[in-house]
Amino acid sequence: MQGIILFLLLASTYLMVIAKRMPALIRSFRYQSFFLFLVTFLAAFNEKVIELYVVSGMIILVKVFLIPYFLNLTAKKINLDENLGLFVNSQLSLVLALIFTYYSWVLSVNLGFGQGSLQSVAVTVAFSVIFIGAFMMISRMKAFTQVVGILIMENGIFLFASSASGGMPFFAEIAIFFDIFISVVIMGIFVFRINKLFTHIDVNKLSRLKG
């Protein structure tokens, strides 16, 4: 059961890699968050930890509804062309994504997770999500993608946290959630400002400060 969810989660990440346009990206992020929620929820169900229920609740609240909604809102406010502007075209990105997955599998073995155990799969997926998120940030031009990229990475981290160390202490978890949400909001504000000042959000063109 959990295996399937993890696989879907990875699949949704790959969807994001090949996404060329903004709405697609946000939609697949929503999927990813949803699967993350499922994973956490199952973990809560198995371990019968009340805190994990709350955490999963927060995931579905913040990551599945609030943040994508907010992103769409901003996207609508600044009526930008929806292309993400790829440095690396989607096919090659996919290849790289697979490489990252392999790499993270190696890493998970290094970290001493049992071969083939569900946990190792989870960790592999988590790491690959993180790396792919970072890769997205590097390889996409638009400011939005970078926001999304950070969110993806954070999803990966959550997955890792809940699957590997069985989640962090509760208040830390909450604080981190709060933090992430704030950061997204603030980034959104700056996206506004950039759009106002530069009349585009193509951060690749932001190169006044050099040397």
Binding site: L107, N110, L111, G112, I130, A134, M137, A143, Q146, G149, I150, M153, E154, I157, F160, A161, A164, S165, G166, M168, P169, F171, A172, E173, A175, I176, D179, I182, S183, I186, M187, F190, R193, I194, L197, F198, V203, L206, R208, L209, G211
Partner: protein, 485 residues
């Protein structure tokens, strides 16, 4: 209980910034507030030195020598910045650069920023540590983008994105630590004070990988090359007092975080691993920054790169790991904070008079504003490690430690690049401070509060340098206990 006052006052002041409508008045109140904070942080420093460590609030706040040192540094730079803000913001309002409303906004952010930075050394839980550091980023992003010009917004964007990415890795590292802790069959907790005692039983392999994430993550925030790229942009665009806080304290808080994890690594018996990584990053930062300093054209960026250099020196110092080196490094944290704030304030004055960052069009500062000019001159020599100023002492300690560990290569690199950087600084500042002033430039006066903060800092620079030669023994004693937790 002093810690609550230290944490509380900034919050109160932040609230006050919303209420009190008269900026100038509030500036003064601000200073008073931070003066109190300074007093209490000195008190708490004493207390901790005697008690070893303090835990309050169900072990949520945990203070040992390391943290109080950083609190003290923060307090000192904060009051300096508060003092300088009065003059600086006042001038900005006069020149209609910002409105009174925005000034109050500034003070609000200023206080929140300080609060978050005071939190970093105070908290015990590593997750909360992460949160605090992320908060510093989010708040200071606004202060970087304060003037809302194209450059400043670009800088702010780069700052927030790069630091968030870095910090995300740091979070991963933190979780790996907690994972290592949880699989060791002990209770599940992220409290540093719980982890340290059992550090030796944790899984080395996981710790190692975790530490890499930590080092890269917080290293980004600390401005270690090659993750330093946000730093010159942010520092050069921020409001002058904030530049001082950024390079004086913010970088150090990240270093503090690295050290917290580093101590666990050391305790788990992986000293050489820690040493190698720290020295590697330190040397890289030193080399890269020296290159950029040499050909820099923008005054504030120059100072920013010099911060990278000094962070490099500090991390080399901690990397060397002998008591002498650590004493040197801690001292360097303090000295660099003080000296660099002085330099940034001076740069702020210069820029506000000349209206330019470009050093080629800044000439004859000594003539235009004698006081600032002379202070800058002292600052330059202090910053580049000339006696009798304090940085000389800390650098000599680190070099000495390098020789004592008979890691001659590091020592030679240090000496070489310090010489290069020194030359570069004299090359730039010699032309800028002396030389004939450009046309239409006339002698200007400086406000008193500005002068006062300069005197305060220069007193610290000179005084510490001289005192420390004689208080050397105590310092070693402290530093020996520093990494014991």
């Amino acid at each position: 209980m002093a810690i609550f006052i230290i944490l509380g006052i900034p919050l109160l002041l932040a609230a006050g910034a919303l209420i009190i409508k008269r900026e100038r008045l509030f500036g003064v109140i601000n200073c008073l507030g931070y003066f109190v904070v300074l007093c209490f942080s000195i008190a708490i420093f004493k207390e901790t030195v005697l008690a070893g460590h303090i835990r309050v609030l169900f072990n949520f706040i945990y203070l040992d020598l390391l943290s109080v040192v950083f609190i003290l540094v923060t307090a000192i730079v904060a009051i300096a910045a508060a003092l300088y803000s009065i003059a600086y913001i006042g001038k900005d309002i006069e020149q209609k650069i910002i409105s009174g409303k925005k000034a109050r906004f500034y003070y609000l952010l200023f206080n929140l920023f300080c609060f978050s930075m005071f939190c970093v050394p105070a908290v015990n839980n590593l997750g909360m540590l992460w949160v605090a550091i992320e908060m510093t980023t989010l708040i200071s992003a606004f202060l970087v983008g304060f003037y809302n010009s194209k450059e400043s917004v670009e800088a702010a964007w780069k700052y927030i994105i790069i630091c968030s990415v870095g910090i995300t890795f740091a979070l991963l590292g933190t979780i790996l630590f907690s994972y290592a802790f949880s699989i060791s069959g002990l209770s599940k907790s992220l409290n540093w004070s719980d982890m340290v005692p059992v550090a030796h039983v944790l899984d080395k392999n996981i710790l190692k990988i975790a530490f890499i994430f930590i080092l890269v993550g917080y290293g980004t925030k600390a401005g270690l090359a090659p993750m330093h790229t946000w730093l010159p942009d942010a520092h050069s665009q921020a409001v002058a007092p904030i530049s001082a806080l950024l390079s004086g304290v913010l970088l150090k808080t990240a270093v503090y975080a690295i050290l917290r994890f580093g101590i666990i690594i050391i305790k788990s018996g992986e000293l050489t691993y820690f040493t190698h990584l720290m020295i590697l990053f330190g040397v890289v930062s030193l080399v890269i920054s020296s290159g950029f300093i040499l050909i820099q054209k923008d005054l504030k960026r120059l100072l920013a790169y010099s911060s990278i250099e000094h962070i490099g020196i500090i991390s080399i110092g901690f990397g060397l790991g002998s008591p002498l080196a650590i004493a040197g490094a801690i001292l360097h944290v303090f000295n660099h904070a003080v000296t660099k704030s002085l330099m940034f304030f001076g740069a702020g004055n210069i820029v506000s008079v000349y209206k330019k960052h470009n050093m080629n069009s800044i000439r004859g500062v000594i003539k235009v504003m004698p006081f600032t000019g002379i202070m800058m001159l002292l600052g330059v020599f202090a910053l580049t490690g000339f006696p009798p100023f304090s940085i000389f002492i800390s650098e000599i300690m680190i070099i000495m430690a390098a020789f004592n560990n008979s890691s001659y290569f590091i020592a030679v690199l240090l000496l070489l690049f310090l010489a290069v950087i020194f030359s570069a600084f004299i090359f730039h500042f010699g032309k800028m401070l002396f030389g004939n002033l450009p046309k239409g430039m006339k002698i200007v006066g400086e406000p008193l509060s500005g002068k006062f903060v300069f005197l305060f800092l220069s007193f610290l620079i000179c005084g510490v340098g001289i005192v420390l030669i004689f208080k050397y023994k105590d310092l070693l004693w402290l530093s020996q206990r520093l990494l014991q937790g």
